[in-house]
Amino acid sequence: MSILAWCVAAWLFGIGVYGIVTSRHYVHLIGCLAVCQSATYVLLLGIGFRWHAGPPIFYDHPPGTPAVDPVVQALVLTDIVVSAAMTALLLAIALQVHKRRGTLDPQHLRPFRQEK
C-alpha cells in the first residue's frame, strides 16, 4: 500500500508519455500532456498525505487537530493553474498551425523544412 501512490503517479506519467509519442493529432497530444501533468498532482498530494488527518481547513474542527500538509495542496493549485494556462496557449498554437498548414498530424508537419 505504501508505494501505491507513487506507482500511480509513475503510471500516469508513463501513459501520458506513451500518448505523446504515438500521437497523431496535436489536440490529442495536448491532452496527453495534461495527463502527464496530473501525475504531479498525485505525487504532490501523496507527499502531503497523513493517516487519520483531516483537511487543512480549521472550520469544523479546531486548530491543533491533525491535518494534512497545506503547502503541497497550494502547490497543486499552482500546478493546475499553470496547466490550464499552458493548455490554452498550446491550443491557440495548434489552431494557428491548423490554419496555416491545414493539418495537425505531427507526422505531416515538418517545422524546419523550407516551405515551397
Partner: protein, 258 residues
Amino acid sequence: MNTTARIVLLVIALVVLAPAAGMLILAMPAFGHPLSQYGDVVNALAPRLRNISNMVAAVNFDIRGIDTLGEECMLLAAVTGTVMLLRGHRGEDMSERAGRVPGRKQPSRSDATVLLCRFIATVLFLFGIYMVLHGTVTPGGGFQGGVIVASSFVLLYLGESYRAWRRIVLGPALAALEGTGALAYVLAAALPLLGGYAALQNVLPLGTWKDLFSGGLMVAVNYAVGCAVIGSFGVLLLEFMEETRAPENDPVPDEEDE
C-alpha cells in the same frame, strides 16, 4: 520520424529509466507519514497569527504570497500570449455572428437545453462567486471560484445563441476585470512597502476567526485573484469562440507562402 521509430525510442528510454524510477519509488518516504515540517508549522501557527481557517489560502495568499504573485503574472502573460496568437491577423475585430461551415445543418436548441443551461449557469455563477468570497474561510478561493464563474459563461453559450452570448459576456469588461485583478494584487504587494513594511505584509485588521472577512490583506488578495481569474478565463473563452468564425473572414496571411 515514423511511429515505429518513435515507439522504439520510447522502449529504449523506458528500459534505461524504469530501474531508476523503480529505485526512486522504493526510496520515497512512507505514504501517510510526511517528512516536511513546513505544513505542520503552518497548521499550528496560521490560525492563531492570521485568524484564518483555510490553511491553503493562508499559504497561497500570505505565507507564500509572493510566489502566488509570480503565478498570477504567469497567468496574465500566458493569457496575453494566447490572445495574441488567437487574434492573429484578425486584430481586435470581433463579430456577433458565430462561424458556420457552409452546407452544415444547424439544429435549433431544444427547450430543455435552454432551460437547463439557464438554470445551471445561474446556480454555477452564484456558486463561483460564493467560492471566491469564502476563500479564506472554507475550501475554495480566488482561483477555484474564478474558474467556476468562467465555466458558467460556457453554459450561457450552450443555452443561448452566440449572438446572445456575446451580448451578455462583454469582452472589454472581462479584459478590464483581468487587468484590475492583477493590478490589485501588485498594489497589495507594493503598498505596504510605502509604509515601511515588507512586501505583502498583512497590515490590515485580521478580523475574527471563521468570519467572512478574516485574514486581513488575504481577503483583498483573494478577491483580486478571483477577478483576475474570471477575467482571464472569460477572455480566453471569448477569443477561442471568435476563432470559430468562418475562414473567409480571416484569410491566412500570405507571408507564410513566400
